[in-house]
Subunit: 144 residues, 4 copies
């Protein structure tokens, strides 16, 4: 009996851990995501108001130390004749690098995998001209 | 004498209030800003870590009710031969509209006025195709 | 009588020339436009297929020498309940600078003046990282 | 001997044809490219001045009929410590749809394949508000 309870307990524990440590999906974005450059987007919490809290770690250009990330997630019920996705926006402050980056996009299944496809803008404090402070490009994130 | 002190006190109080209620600047972004479309950006607080808290109210497309705004501000010391600006990124969640918007840009003096010049991306949950969820354009904000 | 006709003819000729050399409008984009940075956009021809030919001269970052410009203009009849504008896209090749820029936007009246409001992307061949080749920002052009 | 020469001739001819009909590369962009949405970008010619001529056919949203495409390609010699890519910009006129699209990006090898990675802006003549005429997103093109 004791053994049975122990096994049951262990089983429940493992299932719970598995759920907790599960890969993120487009329905539940919380978890770890990685992009083509090897940057890790960690969404640790999404509030009832859609507020995202997490961290971002980029090995290219900023040394890889995680920085705080904030943002929003929003969605609507699917509508006939419309393409329906969960939308996201998140941003970070690059500390002493003097810049900020914001990503805007949506989550959908691409090549069988949940994918957060984004466009980003990075604004830098110091640049050569008055007009070249903003960089842009795209980033795709898949479950890490 | 009492009257004098009272007047002095009132004067100091009014000056302090005036400073407190003063127009925002590129050095201190806190306060109310308005763009060409009549939208009001209110930056109520900027933390030591650069975190921005505030609200955003847009009369065009969303009824004008203020929504929560979060973001980041960053800056660097000026550097010889470089154009130096205070950079910002902020975003909002449009509630039941099912969308999010993020702005990215910088504050500098334009035509004599502090101006937050931004590029924005709005992502909508429902759209006609898989590829047309993201809108973009520019917004300039001046002290309200 | 002869003198009168000559004067009349001259008058008509001058008026016609004036119209021809007149400032560009949102209906007829051909002519010279200038932006906030002092760059001159010259639209010399718009084909029946909407093709734009012209030149672009930018004093900031590229020395001011005009370079060839190509692009497209398109429009639709106004539709009830819709905002209607003439849309444009044009691009240039910055020669030995190793970059290209494309502008996308539309013409409408802003503060009483025809204004081509655009978002642009500049792509540079050499940059610090694989991800920072593209710059972005906005540009507004008014009749020069 | 005659047969041998004929075979040799045929062989040379086939090789030449094969080269001619070969897949595009980042060094020579001319040829057919396809993106994730199944759109075909055909670069038929690149002038000495970097001018691109070709066609674009998109099955999603515009019926798939090819439309004329113009643009620019540019490059620089690699420089120590810099990431070096061939940059491109190209645009199309969507005829009676009343819109134009421009793509901006660069060609590099991604996952072993030549890839033109771009950011695009589509501007539409009629939209709901004065501020929502421009759509944006990213597109990756690989040899078809």
């Amino acid at each position: 009996m004791k053994t049975f309870l122990l096994v049951l307990f262990l089983g429940v524990f493992l299932v719970a851990t598995d759920v907790h440590a599960g890969k993120p999906t487009c329905e539940n974005l919380t978890g770890e995501w990685i992009n083509e450059l090897g940057s890790t987007l960690t969404i640790s919490k999404i509030g009832k108001d859609g507020k995202i809290d997490g961290t971002y770690a980029s090995p290219s250009g900023t040394g890889g130390k995680p920085v705080a990330l904030i943002g929003w997630s929003n969605s609507l019920s699917p509508k006939a004749g419309k393409d329906n996705v969960r939308v996201v926006s998140f941003s970070v402050h690059w500390g002493d690098y003097g810049s900020v980056t914001s990503w805007s996009g949506a989550c959908s299944i691409k090549e069988g995998k949940p994918t957060i496809s984004t466009i980003w803008n990075l604004v830098r404090s110091n640049s050569d001209f008055a007009w070249d402070h903003i960089l842009t490009n795209s980033d795709n994130f898949n479950p890490k």
